[in-house]
Symmetry: C2
Subunit: 207 residues, 2 copies
DNA sequence: AGCAATAAATGAACGGTGTTCAAAGAACGG
DNA sequence: CCGTTCTTTGAACACCGTTCATTTATTGCT
C-alpha cells in the first residue's frame, strides 16, 4: 500500500516547499518581512494550512536557522583543512566574513534576532552545526598555540570564543551600524587575526 | 505673555514623560514589546496623541537610542581618564561590558536592531556620542602604540574598531546566543584585551 | 461675559499581523 | 455508493502602526 507513503512524501515536499519560499522571503526582505499570510499567499495555501506543518512562525525561523548554520559550517570546513595554523585561522576568518556579508539576512536571523530562535543550534554539544563550527576554531587556536604563535596561557576554547566574537562583532556592526566603521570589514578581520597571531619566532624565548 | 512659554513647557514635559515611559517599557520587555497603543495607554492618552509629539514609533526609538548612547559615553568617559594605556583599555572594556550587560535591551536597541535607528548616532563626525565614544578608544589605542605595547603598523583607528567589534561581539553573542559561550563575558573581555596588549618590554627590540 | 479663533485630543477607521477552530471539502476503504 | 478519515479553509479574535475628520478645550478679543 504505497498510498500512505506517497502522502507522507507529498507532505514532506510541501513542507520543504514552504521552507524554500520562506527562505527566499527572508533573504530578500529580512525576517521581519516574513509574514504567515504573505507566505501562505506565495505557496498558494490558506494561512491556517501552514500551521499543519509548523507550530508557528518561530518554528519556521528556527528551521531556517539550523539550515543557515549548516551552510556556514559547510563554508568553514574547507578553510579548516589548511595546515599552517596562522593561515588556517586567516582562511577561517575570511570564510566566516564572506558568509556573513553575502547572507546578511540569514546571518541576522541566526546571530542577531531573538535568542530563542538560535537556542537549538548550541544545545547538542556534539552534533549541532554550532558546536561543530566552534570546534574548528578551537582546533585552529590549539594548533596556533602548539606552534607558539599566540597566547599560550589561555585555553584554546577561550581564544576561539574571542576570535568568533571578534568576527561576529565586525560583521554585525557592519550590518546594524553601517556608518560606524571606517575601514572595510576585510581590513578589520585582517587586523583581528594579526592581534591573535604572534610573530613566527619570538626572538629567543619570549620570557 | 508667559502663556505660550508655559504651553511649550507643558508640551515638552509631556514629550519627556512619553519618552520616559517608553524607555521603561523597552528596558523591561524590549523594543519589540513597545507598542504605540500600550504606550498611549500607559501615559493615559489616545494613541493618536503620540503622533503629535513623535513622527512615528521609530522616531521614539531613535530618541531612546541617542539617550542610551549618551549614557554609554558617560560610563566610558571616567574610564578614559586612566593614565596607563593598558589599564585604560582594560577599564574601558570593563565599563563597556558592564553597560551592555546591565542595559541589555537598550544595548540591543542601539546596536542590534534596525540600522536606521542608530544611523543618526554616527553622522555628526564630531558631536554625536558615537564618534565621541569611539574617539576615546582611538586615543587609548594610540597611547598603547606610543608605549610600544601593541601592533604599531596599523592605524589606531583600526585597532579601536577591532577592539570595539570584539567587545560588541562578546556582548551581543551573550545576548542572542546565550548557550554559545562557555566562559563568562568578563573572562572573554580579559582575553580580548590580552590579545591586543603586548608585554611591557618585549625582550630587547622585538625585531 | 460671550464669541470667534486657535490649539489639543480623540474616535473610528484602514490595512496589516499571528493564531485558532469549527466547518467544509477531498480522498480513501469497504 | 457510502461512511470514515485526512486535508484544507473561512471566519473570527486580538493585536499592531498610522491617519484624519471631528470633537473638545483653551486662548485672545470685543
Amino acid at each position: 500500500m504505497g498510498i500512505t507513503e506517497r502522502k507522507e512524501r507529498q507532505r514532506a515536499e510541501l513542507r520543504e516547499h514552504i521552507l524554500q519560499v520562506a527562505r527566499d522571503m527572508v533573504m530578500k526582505e529580512g525576517f521581519g518581512a516574513l509574514s504567515m499570510r504573505k507566505l501562505a499567499d506565495a505557496v498558494e495555501y490558506a494561512p491556517a494550512t501552514l500551521y499543519l506543518h509548523f507550530e508557528n512562525r518561530d518554528a519556521i525561523a528556527r528551521e531556517l536557522c539550523v539550515r543557515g548554520f549548516q551552510e556556514l559550517l559547510a563554508v568553514l570546513e574547507p578553510a579548516a583543512t589548511v595546515k599552517d595554523p596562522a593561515q588556517r585561522l586567516s582562511r577561517l576568518a575570511e570564510a566566516y566574513l564572506a558568509f556573513g556579508m553575502e547572507n546578511t539576512e540569514t546571518y541576522r536571523l541566526i546571530f542577531m534576532e531573538d535568542a530563542r530562535l538560535s537556542a537549538d543550534l548550541f544545545q547538542d554539544k556534539q552534533e549541532g552545526p554550532g558546536p561543530k563550527s566552534f570546534a574548528l576554531l578551537v582546533r585552529a587556536c590549539a594548533a596556533l598555540q602548539a606552534a607558539g604563535r599566540t597566547l599560550d596561557a589561555t585555553p584554546p576554547e577561550r581564544l576561539a570564543e574571542v576570535f568568533w566574537a571578534g568576527l561576529h562583532g565586525i560583521i554585525s556592526l557592519k550590518l546594524t551600524c553601517s556608518g560606524f566603521q571606517g575601514a572595510p570589514a576585510e581590513a578589520l578581520v585582517e587586523t583581528l587575526v594579526a592581534t591573535l597571531v604572534h610573530a613566527p619566532k619570538p626572538a629567543r624565548r619570549s620570557r
